[in-house]
């Protein structure tokens, strides 16, 4: 098409249209805003044409799905072959309660598991630690030892279902518990599949569940990379996450840039240790947010794939899989409203659709009640059904990258890539990712964006339905999840029983061996596995590492 009409003809015609036709039209119908922009503050034009993508030639910039630079997808046939994994992030109360929720979700057609841990677990504390007060099971499940892990996955075939675990500071310990549990059931390490989040950089930047300082944290992460490709080959040893960066208030461009920047940082750290990039890179995975601006989100995922492939190639990756940016998506929790919670179903549908049109490998859809509490059974079922409707009824899965070739989408994809490289330069100028964290660069950038978003909402420049427009005088209440109040007591009794009944000399021996190894430079995974196999608790194992590595303290910036 563009070849038949020359670019010059299009340019001329566009000018005429703009000058004569459009100008007249907006005199009669003035535009609603003086400026249209997306959530990354990128100005959006009235229309996009072949002129906007004239510098990108198809074969180099896009190519075919499954081929470099993977703009259109990492798999040649994408959802025509296999649908994305429907993976609802879930966890609350005790391991028994959460196990019931998993059985419920799997019974309703969920195809993968995703574990939410409570705060004490995320910080490597047992349920009976003083700092765990009030937090048991509140925003995830409490896992203090292998006993809890056994209960969590009771009756779930670990060789058939893959599990994603949102755990960072204590990731090697929780992963070791998962491996140990499988081994105790006679399932070998090579057979289990899943993901540990294990992304500490975004913890310093945004999510803030860090334990150790950057250097030992990076060492632990590289330990898991190495152990993973050697022993647990189907496991994704990291999920490099933009989700939390976005939830903390970043723009889509910042999410994209900071996440991929973190990714490159991990690759460099592992290479510095002497690992070969094509050994560990195929098991790096990503995790993005799906926020409100539909096309911006789709462009973000597409740009991420191309940037990652180019960066990995530049770092020397040769294997196809090393170049793949495979990702999980979760719809934006921060976009949900406590007001008129049912309308969140509509927000989630649009966000989920963006993720699918962006080619996600797995997806979590938020439940309508999550601005109020953890999801009820009904709310989470509707969220899962939302994915099933997109997958089975909407027809968007019939072809790969259906929006590829849209002038707007391609232009926006290029634009987001361009903005990402500007951030890469700024971070490099600050000395790299970790120095930039220490200088508060990312934290400040995110806080600025978050504040601006809030201001625009408060001033009603940004309309949030049900919040600053179309409000109800009286809000109807919806039923909220109730947790078993006896759960905490039961968990603490279980922990105390474990501590008296296990072979404590064995526990002690393994903890001491871990302590010694942590002071040296061996891979810590085998030592950690010994600890959890002997039923050392999460808190005990983590304390050994706390003693050796110290704890990270951040400087609060607002």
């Amino acid at each position: 098409m563009a070849e038949k009409d020359t670019m010059e003809q299009i340019r001329q015609k566009h000018q005429e249209w703009e000058q004569e036709f459009y100008k007249k039209a907006i005199k009669e119908n003035p535009e609603r805003k003086t400026k249209f922009k997306n959530l990354s503050e990128i100005d959006i034009k009235n229309v996009y044409t072949p002129e906007d993508i004239k510098d990108s030639d198809y074969l180099n910039a896009s190519g075919f799905p499954g081929e470099f630079p993977y703009l259109r997808g990492v798999h040649p046939n994408l959802y025509r072959g296999r649908l994305w994994t429907m993976r609802q992030f879930a966890g609350f109360g005790s391991a028994e309660e959460t196990n019931k929720r998993y059985q419920y979700l799997l019974g309703h057609g969920e195809t993968g598991l995703s574990v939410a841990f409570d705060y004490p677990t995320l910080y490597g504390y047992d349920t009976d630690h003083p700092l765990a007060r009030g937090e048991f099971g509140k925003c995830g499940v409490a896992i203090s030892s292998l006993v809890d892990m056994e209960l969590l996955f009771h009756g779930i075939p670990l060789d058939k279902i893959t599990t994603s675990m949102t755990i960072n500071g204590p990731a090697p310990i929780i992963w070791a518990m998962y491996i140990a549990n499988a081994e105790n059931q006679g399932i070998s390490k090579e057979k289990i599949g899943g993901t540990i989040q294990n992304d500490i950089l975004k913890e310093y930047i945004a999510q803030k569940s860090y334990i150790f300082p950057p250097e030992p944290s990076m060492r632990l992460i590289v330990d898991t990379f190495e152990y993973g490709f050697k022993q647990v080959p189907k496991w994704n040893t990291i999920s490099i996450s933009g989700y939390h960066i976005r939830e903390a208030g970043s723009t889509a461009v910042q999410e994209l840039a900071f996440t991929l920047g973190d990714g490159v940082e991990y690759v460099k750290a592992a290479m510095k240790r002497g690992l070969s990039i094509d050994d560990f890179a195929p098991r790096l995975s990503f995790f993005f947010n799906a926020h409100n601006d539909f096309f911006e989100e789709i462009a973000k995922y597409r740009a991420a794939r191309r940037i990652w492939a180019k960066e990995m190639k530049a770092l020397g990756a040769k294997k196809t899989r090393s170049l793949w940016m495979r990702f999980h998506t979760q719809t934006a929790g921060c976009s949900l409203t406590a007001q008129q919670p049912e309308i969140n179903i509509v927000r989630v549908t649009l966000q989920a659709l963006a993720a699918v049109l962006g080619g996600t490998q797995s997806l979590h859809t938020n439940s309508m009640d999550e601005a109020l509490a953890l999801p009820s059974e009904k709310a989470v079922r509707i969220a899962l059904r939302t994915q099933q409707i997109i997958a089975e009824e909407s027809g968007v899965t019939n072809t790969v990258d259906p929006l590829g070739g849209s002038y707007y989408i391609e232009w926006l994809t290029n634009k987001m890539e361009e903005e990402t490289y500007k951030y890469f330069d700024r971070v490099e100028h600050l000395g790299g990712v970790i120095p930039a964290i220490e200088k508060g660069f990312f934290q400040r950038e995110i806080a600025e964006s978050a504040y601006r978003y809030q201001k625009e909402t408060d001033d009603s420049q940004r309309v949030i339905v049900g919040v600053n427009r179309y409000q109800l005088d009286e809000e109807a209440s919806i039923p909220i999840l109730k947790m078993d109040e006896k759960g905490e007591e039961r968990q603490i009794r279980r922990l105390q029983k474990l501590r008296t009944e296990r072979d404590n000399s064995k526990v002690q021996k393994h903890l001491e061996q871990l302590c010694k190894a942590a002071q040296g430079d061996e891979n810590l995974m085998p030592f950690i596995l010994n600890c959890v196999h002997s039923y050392a608790t999460l808190g005990e194992t983590c304390q050994v590492l706390r003693d050796v590595f110290g704890e990270y303290k951040e400087q609060a910036i607002y």
Partner: protein
């Protein structure tokens, strides 16, 4: 010169969600108040001590982990014990409506949920500050 209202914005417990706390801290500062932000991972005891040392008029607690019935109440009880009755305590975060009466009974004067314009918090403080 009118004395500026002094506010402590605090994050009790292990919750790392600090987007709201930081936005509120900045908005209160922009509204002319003196703001101290504790940073993350504070115990109730640490928060109360900071409130005393900084001689604040208002303590604003932010929590999204669901542990508010324990941690907000811990702060309120401890402040009562220390006779800090003239300090206004407010809270915000992911807090179901049904928990609000219990929090108010414990001494949290008002609870602000998601979607609250920051100006509402500013006005509330100006109207209700006790000293």
């Amino acid at each position: 010169m009118v004395k500026k209202i002094r506010v402590l914005v605090a994050k009790p417990g292990l919750d790392g969600h600090d987007r709201g706390a930081k936005i509120v801290a900045r908005a209160l500062r922009d509204a002319g108040m003196e703001v101290v932000y504790t940073g993350l991972h504070q115990t109730a005891e640490q928060i109360v001590n900071t409130a005393m040392q900084e001689d604040v008029d208002v303590v604003g607690l932010s929590l999204l982990s669901g542990a508010h019935m324990t941690l907000f109440v811990d702060v309120a009880v401890s402040m009562k014990e220390k006779k800090m009755d003239d300090v206004l305590i407010i809270g915000g975060g992911i807090i179901p409506q049904e928990d609000v009466p219990g929090l108010k009974k414990a001494g949290i004067a008002e609870v602000f949920g998601p979607g609250t314009p920051v100006e509402e918090i500013v006005n509330y403080i100006k109207k209700n500050v006790k000293r």
